[in-house]
């Protein structure tokens, strides 16, 4: 009896162990695409914040009037037909048929007008467009007009802006919410519906296929074309630890990892089940940002000294390592775009520490302490900060590296006080290539000073004039001439930031996936899971 009991117990234990080991997952009747995004989705309003993760969320649930394709050409998206008057002052937009909000209401011209106005209060390009706009008027349910004060060359480029803040269309009642408050609900008209009840901030976001979405007939191309959803739902699973994410991808627990850590890339390349590719042809641009308000970088010579001190190759090796994933690119408006220019780049292409020391002397620098903010929780910026610290020491500067987390840095960088009183001299950041392709989109070059420039506050009236001229110009050849003049000025006089290189973030996905789109922003329509 005893031995029978023992046998039964052993059998039970083995059965349980086998069950645990080989138990199948829950029945997968529906196709679920599991994505590990680059960050946790914390805010749901893509106009309220410029955070890229919220922009990506915006593309899931909202739609845009225009969108750029993979060649960076603007194409109609929600708009079916559009026209511009001969004098270029009146644009008429007609929405295509079949557009509906997730609650079933039809998308109207009034919704779009309200959405443009709200976006125009927050986004730099939007503000510029609104500044040139005399009137936005509803003609009928499906048509509205945009009347300009004077010709403006970036109307369609603005409405098709691909990156933050992207002009997403919202319901009128939400678009009328103060632009500095979050919209209360997520009701879009895009290809996915946000499942708010399943949202676990810090962990998981669930999007369900919008069965009522009517995609365009054209094939998908970056943000443009038909947004055909080929799975039933998409889950964003936020995994903060890169090693865990890699294991999950290798084990097939997730399907796509948006930003594999650089040191994981060689391991992923060896895995037969994983595909690794760069889908963003524009990549990322690094910014070394000096504080233009305070000595020594309030002097143009000190800022130019930075150009002669920086060797992009050093930074890119420290940040990325693999030469296949970076490119030495001095251009302010990023390499690989129509606005790439070679004017004035010699200073950044030449590493000359003697010249840098001479320029510092010219600026009156005499060994004063320089405060460099080092965000230790962001590997790219941490490494760039360490390289800069050494570079500045090499040209004779007394550098105090202050380690802090990114949250602290974002509040400290807003301080306009002198560095000795809690301000700063230098910090690093980066921008996706899509955000620096034009003088209007690139907020880093703004010369608006403490009134309107980005942190660091460069002040240069001519820069602002040239940006305005670029915005007014519709002729690409003339725009290019303005770009050349502007970039020359940026290198010779302003040096709003020092571009420390261009690098490309690969994306990793399971080989069961097909249809991953080439684009500066990751999109999850068009992807098939076999």
């Amino acid at each position: 009896m005893k031995s029978r009991l023992r046998s039964a117990a052993v059998a039970l234990a083995l059965g349980a162990a086998a069950g645990l080991a080989f138990a199948p997952g829950a029945a997968q009747a529906e196709k679920v695409l599991r994505i590990v995004p680059h960050a946790d989705l914390k805010n749901l309003d893509p106009i309220w914040t410029t955070a890229y993760i919220t922009r990506n969320h915006g593309y899931m649930v909202y739609d845009t009037l225009f969108a750029v394709d993979e060649n960076l050409n603007v194409q109609p998206q929600m708009v079916g037909e559009w026209s511009a008057s001969e004098d270029g002052l009146v644009y008429t937009f007609t929405l295509r048929d079949g557009l509906a909000w997730h609650d079933g209401d039809p998308v109207t011209a009034a919704d779009c007008v309200a959405s443009i106005k709200r976006w125009g209060k927050r986004d730099g390009m939007g503000q510029k467009l609104i500044q040139f706009t005399k009137e936005l008027a509803v003609v009928d349910d499906g048509t509205f007009t945009l009347t300009l004060n004077e010709p403006y060359g970036l109307v369609l480029a603005s409405l098709g802006k691909i990156s933050s803040n992207t002009p997403f269309m919202m319901k009128k009642e939400h678009a009328e919410v103060d632009a500095f408050e979050q919209v209360p609900e997520v009701v879009g008209s895009g290809p996915f519906k946000f499942a708010k009840d399943l949202w676990v901030p810090g962990s998981k976001v669930v999007y369900l296929k919008n069965e009522d979405y009517v995609p365009r007939a054209e094939p998908a191309s970056a943000a443009a074309g038909g947004k055909v959803v080929k799975v039933d739902r998409v889950e964003w699973i936020y995994i903060p630890d890169p090693a865990t994410t890699m294991n999950a991808l290798v084990n097939g627990e997730v399907d796509l990892w948006e930003t594999p850590a650089v040191d994981m890339v060689p391991l992923l390349q060896q895995n037969e089940g994983v595909e690794l590719a760069v889908i963003d042809p524009l990549g990322t641009q690094g910014w070394l940002r000096p504080n233009h308000l305070h000595f020594p970088f309030n002097h143009p010579s000190a800022r130019r000294a930075l150009l002669y001190a920086v060797n992009q190759e050093d930074y890119l090796r420290a940040i990325v390592g693999d030469p296949k994933l970076y490119r030495v690119c001095p251009a302010y408006f990023i390499c690989g775009t129509p606005n790439e220019s070679s004017v004035g780049v010699e200073a950044l292409e030449t590493v000359d520490h003697d010249k840098a020391r001479a320029l510092l002397k010219e600026a009156g620098y005499n060994g004063e302490k320089i405060i460099l903010m080092q965000p230790t929780d962001i590997p790219v910026l941490n490494n760039a900060s360490l390289v800069t610290a050494q570079v500045l020491r090499d040209i004779g500067m007394d550098v105090e590296v202050q380690a802090m987390d990114w949250s602290t840095l974002t509040s400290r960088r807003a301080e306009q006080k002198a560095p000795a009183d809690g301000g700063w001299n230098v910090f690093h950041t980066y921008s996706t290539g899509a955000d620096v392709t034009s003088p209007i989109a690139n907020i880093g070059i703004s010369g608006g000073g403490v009134e309107s420039a980005w942190f660091g506050w460069p002040t240069d009236a001519r820069t602002e004039e040239l940006r305005d001229m670029y915005a007014r110009e519709a002729d690409p050849a003339k725009q290019k001439a303005i770009i050349d003049e502007l970039q020359g000025r940026l290198f010779e006089e302003v040096v709003p930031y020092v571009n420390y290189g261009q690098w490309f973030q690969p994306v990793a996905w399971r080989k069961e996936l097909s249809g991953v789109l080439v684009s500066p922003v990751p999109f999850f329509w068009n992807i098939e899971k076999n």
């Binding site: 080989f22 749901l44 914040t49 901030p201 995994i239 903060p240 990114w406 807003a414 309107s452």
Partner: protein, 313 residues
């Protein structure tokens, strides 16, 4: 006894008040600005100012404190600055994974550590004893994340028996739940198993030299009965104390384990909230944790009376 319990429960209030004041001041005096994080990297300084004003973060600190205390008095823990969701909902979402991980870890630790410690004491000086002590030293020395990655590599990547990461709630079925909790529990329990085993060994070793143990043996009782009924019971107070401390320490341990195994629990919620300066969430979680600490200590104190009749409250 009841009066003692009531006194201890009432004593929670000033403890929580001190914790609340301390946490509030610490957070608001720490550098970092949630408005800047919300606005994103490309927002202008003016936009950040406007968001700060909308969130009431431009108010003097005593005004913000009064507002928070007022909310607490109404049982309202506030709303996350970022997600706009009530903090109670956020904590509710994260309670089950953390609770499951803690309970599984404690059960695993006790089930392994106490017999191991008692056995090592019984066989003091032998190979078994030394092996137990080596394990204890290793358990203390090897960080949880190292154990976690090794377990993940062996059981998820190589053997493919268990998932590498993630948590399945009980509502999805017991087997998926158990599969998701096994590796994190083993990783987290290593430290506590080592701790409890070591204390169990020391405590039992101490009582094994007592007269009543010799008497029990002289009466003809078998060694297992002497160990379990006489030695372990008399050695229980320090063991219960260390288990109580271990549960409290678990709150720190779950932060690492939840990050390594991607378990959406309270530990990760805390870290995320701190990194983003989500003040209402941090304040609420720390209040909850401090309440749990006090409650566990109370339970440990009450448990003493079960093992040692001489202790009376």
């Amino acid at each position: 006894m009841y009066a003692y319990v009531m006194r201890r429960v009432v004593a929670i209030i000033p403890v929580m008040a001190v914790v609340g004041i301390f946490v509030f001041l610490l957070l608001h005096l720490t550098p970092g600005d949630p408005a800047a994080i919300i606005a994103g990297d490309y927002a202008s300084p003016a936009d950040i100012e406007k968001i700060r004003a909308r969130l009431g973060l431009d108010q003097p600190i005593h005004v913000q404190f009064a507002r928070w205390v007022g909310q607490l008095a109404h049982g309202d823990l506030g709303v996350s600055i970022f997600s706009n969701l009530p903090v109670t909902k956020l904590i509710g979402q994260r309670l089950e994974p953390t609770f499951a991980l803690c309970v599984a870890t404690i059960i695993l630790s006790i089930v392994i550590a106490v017999p191991l410690g008692v056995f090592a004491a019984w066989r003091a000086g032998t190979f078994v004893d030394r092996a137990t002590m080596v394990f204890a030293v290793l358990g203390f020395s090897v960080p949880i994340f190292v154990i976690g990655y090794i377990l993940m590599y062996v059981f998820a990547i190589e053997l493919r028996w268990l998932p590498a990461q993630g948590y399945k709630p009980l509502a999805d079925g017991f087997v998926p739940f158990l599969r998701s909790i096994i590796l994190p529990s083993i990783a987290l329990s290593t430290l506590y198993t080592a701790l409890i085993a070591r204390i169990s060994r020391a405590s039992v070793l101490e009582v094994l030299t007592e007269d009543y143990i010799r008497t029990a043996h002289a009466k003809g009782l078998s060694s297992p009965i002497v160990l379990m009924r006489h030695a372990l019971r008399n050695a229980a107070v320090p063991i219960v104390t260390i288990i109580g401390i271990g549960i409290a320490l678990l709150i720190g341990g779950v932060v690492v384990t939840e990050s390594v195994f991607n378990i959406p629990g309270l530990g990760r919620l805390t870290v995320d909230a701190i990194l983003h300066r989500d003040y209402p969430v941090i304040q609420a979680i720390i209040l909850v944790f401090s309440g749990v600490y006090v409650f566990i200590n109370l339970l440990a104190d009450l448990a003493y009376t079960l093992f040692d009749p001489r202790i009376r409250y």
